[in-house]
């Protein structure tokens, strides 16, 4: 039997039972469509996060106290076990590094804010004037912390704090009590939402010296460093590390992470998530494969008489096996193609519904979905096809 005849015969068989073929193609296409849509969603989320992060300013280096990596044996490590604190002076020293544009220290803590009998717990961020530019934040009203008066008792408050404490009253110029101190509100941040793990709408920003005095501590939570340009992020990181190493008696007891590293982590997490949903969706492909087997086994039973006839007419076992395999392959291929189109339509619908989400299915997912569909279809078609090929012609002919 010629391959083209086998294919034609299988096509006639597939179209000869339209309902069965439709249901089988539907099952397989749902599996493929699920992989395409879900990976489009996962990968879309990944690209969305990466884009948002990049727009946040990707020339940042974040310095945190302590060393998160093991650096081999170092005699200094053997002597001192606790890392030195980061100080405001460390931050100022970093400003002198050639690749660094500006730095902002961050001291962080929580305290009670009282105004006019209203009391609220807030996150206090102690920093300097450069923080605003470094974080690309905007002011809604007033001005930010003054650079020339590092000890001024002034505060810049988040949009939500403003509305909760002052309601419709003007906030600028009012005096708040924070812990045991009184500070004057000189600015209100524009509403911006989440950033670097804290909600900027719910913070009160104080000069770092004031905040440290309030918390009775000299240490910093982070130092934010902005490189002069994107290409200088790595040199800035190296310079920051070397300056702090010198300042900390030759021991590198801080960790400097670049935004790229943070980005890479997000990229990895969301990439893994995409693989995960692809895997879950692929289960439906395996189920569809088993369905192919079931459908083909039923087909063999249904067409036992026909198989007997083909044998009587001189069909070799291989010819019958190939015909049934071709039919299974056709069903899976039709399902795979339909599913691919459905999936792309679904991804398009997602993109139309959520405009900010670049929900394009990644190529690997499309290839894997189509490949898995065809492979499972063929693989699960082998057993029924072999059963058909091995049928005893006398018994097969006796059935109708």
């Amino acid at each position: 039997m010629k391959p083209v005849d086998t294919l034609r015969f299988a096509t006639r068989a597939a179209t000869g039972y339209p309902l069965r073929t439709f249901l089988m193609v539907l099952a397989m296409s749902i599996g493929v469509a699920a992989v395409v849509v879900l990976t489009a969603l996962g990968d879309g989320a990944r690209r969305y996060v990466i884009n948002e992060f990049s727009s946040l300013g990707s020339s940042l280096v974040i310095v945190l106290p302590g060393r998160s990596e093991t650096g081999g044996f170092n005699p200094v490590n053997a002597v001192t076990s606790t890392p030195r604190d980061l100080t405001v002076e460390d931050g100022q020293a970093l400003t002198r590094a050639p690749a660094v544009l500006r730095t902002a220290p961050i001291a962080i803590g929580t305290s009670e804010v009282v105004f006019n009998g209203k009391l609220r717990d807030v996150t206090i961020v102690g920093t300097t004037a450069d923080y605003l530019k470094l974080r690309r934040m905007d002011l809604a009203q007033g001005r930010f912390l003054p650079a020339e008066e590092p000890n001024a008792a002034v505060a810049v408050i988040g949009a939500k704090i403003r509305s909760e404490l002052f309601g419709t009253e003007p906030a600028l110029g009012k005096v708040l009590r924070i812990g045991d101190r009184r500070v004057r509100v000189i600015g209100v941040l524009a509403s911006s939402g989440q950033g670097l793990g804290m909600n900027a709408d719910e913070v009160v920003i104080l000069p770092v010296a004031v905040a440290q005095a309030m918390f009775n501590s000299n240490t910093l939570f982070r130092i934010l460093v902005e490189a002069k340009e994107r290409a200088l992020v790595e040199p800035a990181k190296t310079q920051v590390e070397s300056i702090l190493k010198t300042r900390h008696d030759g021991e590198l007891d801080v960790t400097a992470i670049t935004q790229d590293a943070v980005l890479a982590t997000f990229d990895r997490i969301l990439g893994t998530l995409t693989y995960g949903v692809a895997g879950i969706a692929a289960i439906s492909l395996a189920v569809a494969g088993i369905l192919v087997m079931n459908v083909m086994l039923v087909a063999v039973t249904q067409r036992t008489g026909e198989i007997g006839l083909l044998k009587a007419l001189g069909a070799e076992g291989a010819a019958i096996r190939n015909a049934f395999l071709a039919e299974a392959a056709l069903l899976s291929a039709a399902g795979a193609v339909t599913g691919y189109l459905l999936g792309q339509a679904g991804a398009f619908a997602l993109r139309t519904a959520i405009r900010v989400l670049p929900a394009y299915p990644p190529d690997w997912a499309v290839a894997a979905a189509l490949g898995t569909a065809l492979t499972t279809g063929l693989l699960f078609g082998v057993m029924p096809a072999n059963r058909a090929a091995r049928l005893d012609p006398v018994q097969a002919l006796a059935k109708r």
Partner: protein, 224 residues
């Protein structure tokens, strides 16, 4: 040299504990061009004999020579080839593929033999003409009458120009007039030289054959 030569054929079926000798020590020789009716009651072994002759079944003992060649020991694929080229089957229930047209059903053996489509179309066209089915070529079996279906089946059985036609109760599902027509068609083919072996329990039909082989309990009880 006889076309078909069976010597010492045994075919044993085991059904549960009981052993059934469907064919027992059967010797049979059929000359080319003969017209043989195999007769007997159901269970007499006539269908088993036909299956053996058609290489659909293997004997447990004995040898089967077709055109002088021992075909008992052939591998399944070689037997398939012999069936394809030398043997034509006509069944009581026609055994047409329901989703294929008359022309496609007739073309099946040619397709299985890998003959190219142009030659296939030529031979099928001629067969449709010869069997009076020219205007039924694109009809599916369910659109054909019983007699037309059996004519399609006979056209299919002869399309490869086999040496022998094995017909199993070819008129069993047909009314008398149509049956007569079908038998006449088979006899015409026989007159042109094709060996015709027909299983039937219809005595009138058997009487028309040049030779009657009567079976009982797996044994030949009359021949001639």
């Amino acid at each position: 040299m006889p076309l078909i030569e069976l010597t010492g054929i045994e075919r044993v079926f085991t059904l549960g504990d009981s052993v059934v000798h469907a064919l027992a020590n059967l010797d049979l020789s059929i000359e080319a061009g003969a017209y043989v009716a195999v007769m007997g009651q159901s269970g007499s072994g006539k269908s088993t004999l036909l299956n053996l002759l058609g290489l659909l079944d293997r004997p447990d003992a004995g040898t089967y020579r077709l055109e002088g060649r021992d075909v008992t020991t052939l591998a399944p694929d070689e037997q398939a080839r012999v069936r394809r080229e030398r043997i034509g089957f006509v069944f009581q229930s026609f055994h047409l593929v329901p989703r294929l047209t008359a022309a496609e059903n007739i073309a099946l053996p040619l397709m299985l033999a890998g003959i190219d489509p142009v030659e296939r179309a030529r031979r099928v066209g001629k067969a449709l003409e010869d069997f009076g089915l020219a205007n039924r070529a694109d009809h599916r079996p369910d659109q054909l009458s019983g007699g037309q279906r059996q004519r399609v089946a006979i056209a299919r059985a002869t399309i490869m120009q086999p040496a022998v036609i094995l017909a199993d109760e070819p008129t069993g599902n047909l009314d008398r007039a149509t049956g007569e027509e079908v038998v006449h068609l088979l006899e015409t083919l026989n007159a042109r030289g094709v060996t015709l072996i027909m299983v039937t329990h219809d005595a009138a039909l058997g009487a028309r054959a040049g030779r009657r082989v009567v079976m009982q309990d797996g044994r030949k009880i009359a021949d001639g």
